[in-house]
Symmetry: C2
Subunit: 395 residues, 2 copies
């Protein structure tokens, strides 16, 4: 059953950067059309962070109105590799790697998106048998000038930086995905605008109803400066432990607080307006940050995990060591020799001292006393040695 009573402001404006074409889109929604919601992912990486969550939550909202997600696994393009690199002459990912990454991705994806209303399609279903004739039919429909009008291509071209022909073909493949699955709406970040519109255009050319395009804003990362991204290290992963997420949310710059509330929580608009007033009136944002962290953890785990993470954080704060004051020490996450880490991080003068401290119950990781020297350490874990010595172990 399609529900066609919905709140336009919530659905098409909150957490939405741009909709093309809004009027058309609203008409289809009012008409009760069941729309196929296209979401693609590149299985060369498998981790989902809060930045992705903005779009995935939007998918979920549409699902709750009865629409269906079509998740496209870009298994095929991932096996070809990045066209801008030198690696194009051979596959960068094996089929097994792609498959494994896709599985990992989907475990995370379905923490937010409703699996029962999702169809998963692999690009190889259509591109595996794609012939040169098919390629030329596709490339014959678009002109060089159209592509060079794309902002990033134009900048690179003007600056004399190389753009390979392959880079012009990629948007066409993404567009062809839309035709194959008869997408009704394609979701993407604002940086995907050109590609999303190529899909719309191609559908029209082959006689399909052109897809609507829903672009979500780019979430700024915990550094307060750049788009959240794994490679910049300014991300909050959705599979991170509650304590880590809590700590990372607390480190989000104050001026981004309302963006995070708007984009990754369901706190109603009316309440958000109150938050804004409080902040303008000079309230300490600490309480709001805690609320934000709880909202996020509740979605990804549950309320009790959110509460436990907060309690853990409060204990550390009550010990007069706020997370911001904890020095960081670089590690490669995994099962580590804790005495070695403690020595290298300058918490003890010898491994022997560290071992004795562990045996006395004086070493904790994320609030858990450790009893063995080898212990699994995740990125962002807080190690406490004795009463007041802390270090955050980061990748």
């Amino acid at each position: 059953m399609m529900q066609n009573n919905f709140d336009f402001n919530h659905l098409l404006r909150r957490g939405v950067a741009e909709v093309i074409v809004e009027e058309e889109f609203i008409a289809r929604l009012k008409n009760g059309d069941k729309l196929r919601l296209k979401e693609g992912f590149d299985p060369s990486s498998s981790d989902i962070h809060l930045g992705h969550m903005v779009g995935l939550r939007k998918l979920r909202q549409f699902q709750e109105l009865g629409h269906e997600v079509v998740l496209i696994v870009g298994d095929w393009t991932a096996q070809i590799g990045d066209p801008t690199g030198q690696s194009v002459t051979r596959p960068v990912l094996s089929y097994e790697q792609v498959k494994s990454n896709a599985e990992t991705y989907m475990q995370q994806f379905f923490k937010i998106v409703d699996r029962s209303r999702t169809e998963v399609r692999w690009q190889s279903e259509w591109f595996g048998e794609f012939s040169l004739a098919d390629v030329l039919k596709l490339t014959g429909r678009f002109t060089i000038a159209q592509f060079l009008a794309r902002e990033d291509f134009n900048k690179r071209f003007t600056a004399g930086k190389p753009i390979t022909l392959t880079e012009f073909i990629y948007p066409l493949l993404q567009a062809y995905d839309s035709v194959q699955i008869q997408a009704g709406v394609e979701f993407g970040g604002t940086d995907q605008k050109f590609n999303l519109l190529v899909g719309r255009e191609l559908q029209g050319m082959v006689g399909q109803q052109p897809q609507q395009v829903l672009m979500t804003p780019l979430l700024v990362g915990t550094d307060g400066a750049h788009k959240m991204s794994k490679s910049l290290g300014n991300y909050i992963g959705i599979t991170e432990a509650p304590a880590q997420i809590f700590g990372k949310v607390m480190s989000v710059p104050d001026n981004l607080l309302m963006d995070y509330f708007t984009l990754v929580t369901d706190v109603p608009d009316a309440e958000l307006a109150e938050f804004r007033t409080e902040i303008e009136n000079g309230a300490n944002p600490m309480a709001l940050k805690k609320r934000l962290a709880r909202e996020i953890i509740s979605q990804l785990y549950d309320k009790s995990a959110a509460t436990a993470a907060e309690d853990n954080f409060v204990r550390i704060v009550q010990n007069k060591e706020t997370p911001a004051e904890i020095p960081e020490f670089r590690i490669i996450p995994g099962t580590l020799s804790i005495p070695g880490v403690m020595l290298d991080a300058g918490l003890v003068k010898s491994k022997g001292e560290a071992m004795r401290l562990i045996q006395q119950g004086g070493v904790e990781i994320d609030g858990n006393k450790i009893t063995e020297p080898n212990y699994p350490v995740a990125n962002g874990a807080v190690l406490k040695a004795g009463k007041r010595r802390y270090v955050m172990l980061v990748e």
Copy 2:
């Protein structure tokens, strides 16, 4: 057995517009390398004219030194159709048409090129199974800027005229042909320079010795104005009847005479120099034109055919009707009803008059008296009615 004693001036300069890279090329020839000579053709048209003969004669010269021609039948691209047209969404030629055109073409091709030293390859051998991955490997090697530097693309781009992506892929396919057959030299007109060099570049990229490029000049047609081409009607086809070829050669403008001698005959350079002197001294070029026509017909047929064609021509001239003075009448070549043609051309006042003239032996086509009303007429045939009425039947 390779012969490596040869006349560079004859082989690499006469009838050659440009060679890339001459030094490298000469070194390979001196070294006695057996080179694979690449020649491609588009089977969407099947007729060879004197303009093509310039390159084919050059192939023949190389064959006589022991090198081998590889003729590439562009069966595959022909089936895709012209990318600049609107016809790209469906094949313009069926497989049967391509095959039939290829057969017609080869019958003509082997009038000039030595069949025993020619390998015929069809593009479909490699492009039939070409995958999208193969396409992207190829397109990843070249940049948009490289293609936009090509003169014709640059002009169109600057003028705001559309260039499809497909048009950028075509040169890559031609280049890939070179890789597949390990071409040693690619032959083409000067208008093909960019594409020929892409082949050279691609071979280097995949670790093959880059091909040499030999470009032949474009032969100006019988109109004295444009490149010889079937669509402009200014061509001399190599399968035309000797009488037609003779007549058409006589219509070549005087200022092109030496070009024709240089490009499509074997008259030695020393003799050509004498011809030039004669012309400069004001000699009537008629004798030289007859010589040119005989040289061409001798190559395509034999000496006796050349002599007969000349005799036929002389008879017409002796009748005080030079070919230039014969009016033209448009026909569709084939077996025609001659009385109908004569009536429409204004040679007679009725079909009855035409029939009587035929029965009296007063009608000739290309010097042959006709006895039946239906008669096979080729393009350029001269119809004579009575003693002084002539018409040239042209397409």
